[in-house]
Each structure stands twice: as structure tokens, then as C-alpha cells.
Assembly symmetry: C2
Homo-oligomer: 137 residues x 2
Amino acid sequence: MSVAHTEVTHEATPAAHLGPCGEDDCGIRDVLDRLGDKWTVLVVVELSKGTRRFRELQRAIPGISQRMLTVTTRRLTRDGLISRTQYPTIPPQVDYDLTVIGRSLAGAVFALSDWSREHKDAIATARADWDAQNDGI
Amino acid sequence: MSVAHTEVTHEATPAAHLGPCGEDDCGIRDVLDRLGDKWTVLVVVELSKGTRRFRELQRAIPGISQRMLTVTTRRLTRDGLISRTQYPTIPPQVDYDLTVIGRSLAGAVFALSDWSREHKDAIATARADWDAQNDGI
DNA sequence: CCGTATCCGAGATGATACTG
DNA sequence: CAGTATCATCTCGGATACGG
């Protein structure tokens, strides 16, 4: 669903760190289109603990529907972030696992997770203050 | 600034990092609820370059509507991630800036951005392969 | 067990017009 | 300039039922 702005006539520079980021792609949009949905990150995190079967994932991630687990795993598989191994047994068995590239993503995700835990309280406080100031409205 | 991509050592690392993550809060959901929308990250990235006025932000982020910029900046302000300074001039002027905590978030975001640039090609390839295999569908 | 298919409601977003 | 208000649209995701 990426941002649909047409084109920016700025010459695309390699951009060390902060290139024309707001202007066009700093790539960040790509990642968030991938991680921004409700379940992807949880699947990645769960798989970072080891191989999981379909059912195991569903049990490990309370609230996810069968449909969304299918959709999420398929998207991740398509992007090469997780591997899907199907055994033609009866009943069927499918194993999911992070790929190498998927594990590197998990690393970046954990960095964000750390950030969240670190600042959760500060944010809650700021939010409470803000709400206190604008309550009567 | 880059929060090093801490390689996830698979099963070797038990729950040092990951609490009952799939269950409910590993905190990661909080961050993604905040960053997952279409514009928040772009605003944060733009503000990481310095102070910006409302209009400047809008020009720097092509495609964002006035409404969504208002909504996005207000949310970030509420969470204490950016500061809003209003000058009672005519015409009005409002400056936005990252707070300290907002800048630390920008750091984590850049880590993700790095990851994206690093693996963009690999993902595109994987996706093309997958699409090739499942073309007729 | 592992998916697919269909329907449908909620929330996010865009377009547009108006205000201080 | 910096919003606010309103309405139309569109995608995501949940519920449910069926299939291999």
C-alpha cells in the first residue's frame, strides 16, 4: 500500500543515513508496510524462539485468527523472511522458521522492543498530562 | 546512532530478551501501534533533521493531507515524542521539534531503515521468485 | 492439521470546505 | 498559516463455513 505520491524530481542520492527521506524512499516505508500490520511482528518474534508449526503459532499468539495467520505467514514466506516446510503426511504438517534474513529483521525488531520498554512509562505520563490539559473539551 | 543489529542466536538465548511476548506485551505492539500508520514515521524522520513548521512538514512529506498531518502531529505531541511551540503572531506560526525521547525513537527507526536498505534487493528477489512459482494463480 | 472462500463491520485515510 | 469539520472511500481483519 505504499505511499502513493508520484515522483519527486530530486536526484536520488545513495543517502548515507538521512537522505531525501521524507521526500521519497528512505526505505523505511517498505519495512513498516511489512511490519505495520497487526500480527507480522508477533509471528517473527515467536519464530525467533525456534521452529513452529501452524497450530503452535496460533496457540502462541492468542487472538490471531486462522485466516490472519495464513495471510501473515504467506506474506513473510513470499518475502523470504521465513521458510515454509510442508510434510506430505496425514494429517499434514507445516513447519515455519526464520530465514537468515528473517533473523536479522528480528534483531532490528528487538531494538524497537527495547526502546518501547525503556520509554513506556515516560510516554504514558506524557499522555496522561496531555489528556489532563485537554479533558474538559 | 545505529542500534546494532543484535543477531538473534536462535534457541541458545532463552527468554533473556523475550518475555511472554506472543502472549501479550513484549511492548513491541505499543511501538508499532504508534509507528504503524502511514505518516508517523515520515514526520519523525523529517523532524530528525531539525525544527519544522506545519507547512514545512507538509511540503517535505508529499502526499500527506492537512488533516493527516494535524492528526499525526497531535498524536506525537500527546505521547511526548515531539514538542509543539505556537507563536501568537499573525499569521500564526507553529514549530515542531523532536523531544529527547523522540530523538531516541528516531535512532531506533533509523536502525530499521538501515535494515530495509540492506535487504531490499534480497526481498525483492525472493518475492519475484515466489510470484514466479505461483503465477497462474 | 492446514488451509481457502465469502461476507461484513470498524477504523484509517482522502477530498473538500470552512475558521481564527 | 494552521488548523477543524464533514463526508466518502477503502483496506484490514474478524467470523464463519467449507475443502484437501
